[in-house]
Symmetry: C2
Subunit: 552 residues, 2 copies
Amino acid sequence: MSSQISALQKHRAAYQPKLPKALRTGTIAVQLGASTAPPTDQDEIRKAFPNTYGQPEVKLVEGKGSLKSGALKVGVVLSGGQAPGGHNVIAGLYDALIAANPASVLYGFLKGPGGVIKGKYVELTAGIIDEYRNTGGFSMIMSGRDKIEKPEELAACKKNFETLGLDGLVIIGGDDSNTNAAVLAEYIKASGCTTSVVGVPKTIDGDMKNEQIEASFGFDTAARTYSELIGNIARDAQSAVKYWHFIRLMGRAASHVTLECALQVQPNICLISEEIQQKGISLDQIVDSIVDTIVKRAEAGKQYGILLVPEGLLEFIGDIKVMIEELSNILAADEASLKSLGDQTDRSKFITGKLSGHSASVYNSLPAAIQAVLLERDSHGNVPLSQVETERLLMDLVAAKIKVLQSQGKAEKVKFAPLSHFFGYEGRCAAPSNFDADYCYSLGYAAAQLVRAGLTGYTSNVENMTKSSDAWIAGGTPVTMMLNMEQRKGKPTPVIKKALVDLDGAPFKFFAANRAKWALEDAYVFPGAIQYFGPSEVCDAPTKTLALEKGA
Amino acid sequence: MSSQISALQKHRAAYQPKLPKALRTGTIAVQLGASTAPPTDQDEIRKAFPNTYGQPEVKLVEGKGSLKSGALKVGVVLSGGQAPGGHNVIAGLYDALIAANPASVLYGFLKGPGGVIKGKYVELTAGIIDEYRNTGGFSMIMSGRDKIEKPEELAACKKNFETLGLDGLVIIGGDDSNTNAAVLAEYIKASGCTTSVVGVPKTIDGDMKNEQIEASFGFDTAARTYSELIGNIARDAQSAVKYWHFIRLMGRAASHVTLECALQVQPNICLISEEIQQKGISLDQIVDSIVDTIVKRAEAGKQYGILLVPEGLLEFIGDIKVMIEELSNILAADEASLKSLGDQTDRSKFITGKLSGHSASVYNSLPAAIQAVLLERDSHGNVPLSQVETERLLMDLVAAKIKVLQSQGKAEKVKFAPLSHFFGYEGRCAAPSNFDADYCYSLGYAAAQLVRAGLTGYTSNVENMTKSSDAWIAGGTPVTMMLNMEQRKGKPTPVIKKALVDLDGAPFKFFAANRAKWALEDAYVFPGAIQYFGPSEVCDAPTKTLALEKGA
C-alpha cells in the first residue's frame, strides 16, 4: 500500500464497523438448527458429499458455548473478481481470532486459490490489517481465478494445511468459489484432517443469495458507484437535451446490478436479460422497442434519454444463442477454409452459406465490425461474445432502424445522437459503503466463530439486514444445502444455484410496474456519491433490491 | 425535475452554502481599484471596446455604498458544457437580488444564449430555485452552444432586454462565453441601453483562470469525480495484478483535469498535452516512453498500471498536427477522387502518395481503423480528430511496439493486457462539492452586486479560496483586462486567453518531480467519493492544483 493516503482514507481508517449484537459480546455460542437438505437433487449431492451433507444451519448467539478458546491458526484467501469490502472480511476475521485468543495467527494466501495450492502466503499482522480497514480492493493479498478442483490440487492444499497446522481456511468468493469450498471441505474431512473450510459470499453481481444469504457483499457499493455515475449522466442528458446515453453495466450471468441501478436512478429504458430470455424476446424486438421509446420521447420534444443494459444480454437472446452455437460448430469444423479467405465480405458470405436460414439473417443483421469479431475465437476456443460491446451494438442497430423509418417518412422528429459507456472496473474496488463495511466485517467475524466451533463446509451469513445492525443475526449456512446439479463440461456437477433476477420477485415487479412511466417522463433520481459520514438514511440504507425483497 | 428525490438530494437541499464575510452583511459596498489593461494588444482591444476598456477592478466589501436598492429585473443564462454548481450560481444570484429587494425578479433564459436571442425564458420563482439548490447539472434552464456574435443577434438581445426592462444579464460560461459577454456589454453600453452584462467563470476544464480568477467553477467537482473512479481502478489494477488501464479524460484544449487527477491519484503514467507540444515530443516517442515504463514494471513483476491521457492530446503532437493539416488540404482538393476508391487499402495508398514523406510515415504508423476515421470529415468539414479514441490508439500502438520488441527477444517479461476508459459525462453534472457549492453561490451572489452597482463587462470572482470562506474576497474582473488578440476564422479577434498548464507552475513541477517514482512504485492514493458531510479536510479542501498554485 502507498505510504501516502487521502484525507478520506485517513478518516475511514478510523471507522469501527458495526457488528450484530451477539458478536459484540465476549461469549458467543453456536445454536444449531435442524439438519438441512438442498431443494433438489438430494441423492446425487449426498453421494458427492457423504461427510458434509445435511449439516444443520447455525446461528451465532450470546451465551456460554463450547467455542475453542485456544490460539488458532487460520488462513484466508480471496477468490475471483474484486468486490468492495474484502479487506473488511479479513479485518473482522482477524479481530475475532485475536479477541478469542491474542496468540492466534492469520495467514493470507496470495493471489487467490493458486496461493493455497502452492502454499504462498504472508502472515497478516495487526500492522497490515490496520492499513486496510474499510478500504476497497483486494490488494492486501490480491486475488486470482485458479480453482481448487483436481485431486492433486486438493492434496496439495491438505498438505499445506498440515504443514501450517491450520485450524481453518476462509475462502472469500462467489458461487463457484463457495462450491469449491464445499468440495475442499468434503475432501479435507474425508481425509481425516481437521481444518475447517468456511466460505464467505462475495460478488458485486449479487447473484449469490438465497433464503439464508440475503446479499453477496460488494453488491451494495458497486451498484451505488454505478448509480452515482448513471445519475450524473442522466442529469447531463437532461441539461444538454441532445444525447441518448447507452450504458452497459457489469453482470454477465445475472442482471441484478442493472436492475438495482434502474431502481436507484429510474432510467428511460432498462433491459433485463432474464426477462428477455424467459419471454423469448428477439434482438429485433429489443431494437424495435428501444426505437419506439426514442420516437415517443422525440415527439414529446425530448431528444435524449438513458438506457441501461447488462453486459451479458446477448447470451440471453434465443436467436443469438442459436446462431452462436451454429457459429461455434462451423468454426470448429471449417476454421481452415474460413482463414484462407482474407476478406471479411468473403468470410461473411462463407459463414452465412453454412448457417441455418434464421441464424444467417440474424448474423446479417449485425454491423460489419461485430460480424468480424464473431468469427474470431477466444483462448478457450469459444466465439468471443464477451468482446462485443453490447451497448454499441444496440446503438448501431437502433441508428440503422431509425434511418430506415425516416426513409419511409416515419420517426421524422427523431435526432438520434447516442453516446456509449461501460461501467465495471469503476465500482469493483470502491471503498466499501457503511453497509458493506459493516456486513463484511460481520461476515469475517462470523467466519472466525464457525472455525472456532470446528464447523466445516459452511458459508458465513448475516440475516435481517434491512434492520439496524442491532437486529442483525450472524450464522452459517451449510454449502451443501445451496447446491444443485448442473451440466458443467458435459457432466452433471454439484454447484451452488446462481440467483438470477426473479420476474416474480418484488424488485423486478416494482421496476415493471413503473417502467412505462419512466420511459416517457424524466423520472430520474440522482443518488449521488456514496456518503460515509452523513445522516443514516443517506449512509446506511441497504440496496433497493434488498429493501423490496424484504418488503421494507 | 423529478418529484421523487434520493436521500442525498433531500439532505443536500438543506445545505446552506458559505459566503465570503462581506457578502453576509446587509451592507455591501463596491471598492474600485485602479483602472486596468490587458497584458498585451492594448491598442487593438481598446479600439474594439471603446466603452468598456480600462474599467477598474472591483472588490465587494462591507460598508454603506451606493448599490441600487430598488426592485431589479435580471436575466441569467447557462452557456456551453455543463459544470457542477451552475444551479448554485443561479440560487446565489436569486437570493442576493431578493435580499436587496424582495420585489426583484429573475428570468432564466432557456437552452443557452439562443434563448437570449429568441427571448425564450421562464421566471425563476422561489419554488423553482429551492428545487435546484446544491444539485448538479444545468437542467433548471438547460444550456446551449449558440453564440451571441452577429449584429442581428446583438440587436435581438438588446430588444429583449428593453422589452423585459432588464437591469442585468448574467452569463454563466467559459472563456468564449465570457468573451461574448464582453462583446455584448460593449454593444449594449454603446447603444445607450443600461442593462449590465456580467459573466461567471464556468468550465470543468479549469482553463479559465488568471490572477483574479483563481479557478473556474465545476473543475473541483468534476476532477474529484474522475479521481474517485481512477483511484477505484488503480485499486482494481493492484488487486487483479494483470491489467493496464488506459484512461482518457475530458479536456480538449488544456490538460488541467488530467493533471489534477494525477496529483490526486498518482498514476504510473500521465501525459500532459502542453508538455508534449512545448518539448516537440512525437507520437513515436510517447509510445516508446510508455513501453519503457511497462517493461520496467513487468521486470519488477508488475503487469499492471494506470495511464492518464487528456482527450486533446493528438492536437498537441507536432507531427500529427502537420499530418492533419496536410490531410485537410488533400481532402478539400481531392475528396471526389478519394471517394471513388471503395477500399480502405486503396484510399490509404492514394493518401500516402499525396502526403509529405514524414506525414505519410506518421499516417502509416496508425492502426487501420484510425486511418479510416481520419479520411472522414465532420459536419464543419474538418478531419474528425475528436472521434479518435486516443486511449485506444495508444493501447494499439503500445501493443504493436511490444510485439515488435518481443519478436526481437526483448521485453520478454511483458504480458500486456490493456483496458480502456473514457470519463467526461460522468463528472460534468455531479452534485457540486462543498467547495463548488460555496464558490458558485458566492459567484452568483457577487454577480448580483455587480448588477446592483450598474457595472457591465465584468466577470464575477472570488479570491483567497485556499483559505476558509471567512477569508474569501468576492469582486469583479473587467473582461477586457483578460483579453488578447488571437486568430479566429482567419482574422485577429479579441478573446480571453485560455490558461493552459504552465510547465513552470507549481502543479506541473510537483508532478514532474514525482512522476519517475510514481511510474515504478505503486504510489496510488485513493481519493474516494466526494463527501459532503464529514470532516472538513475531507469535504471542503480545494483542488491540489489550486493549493499548489497558492503555495498552500
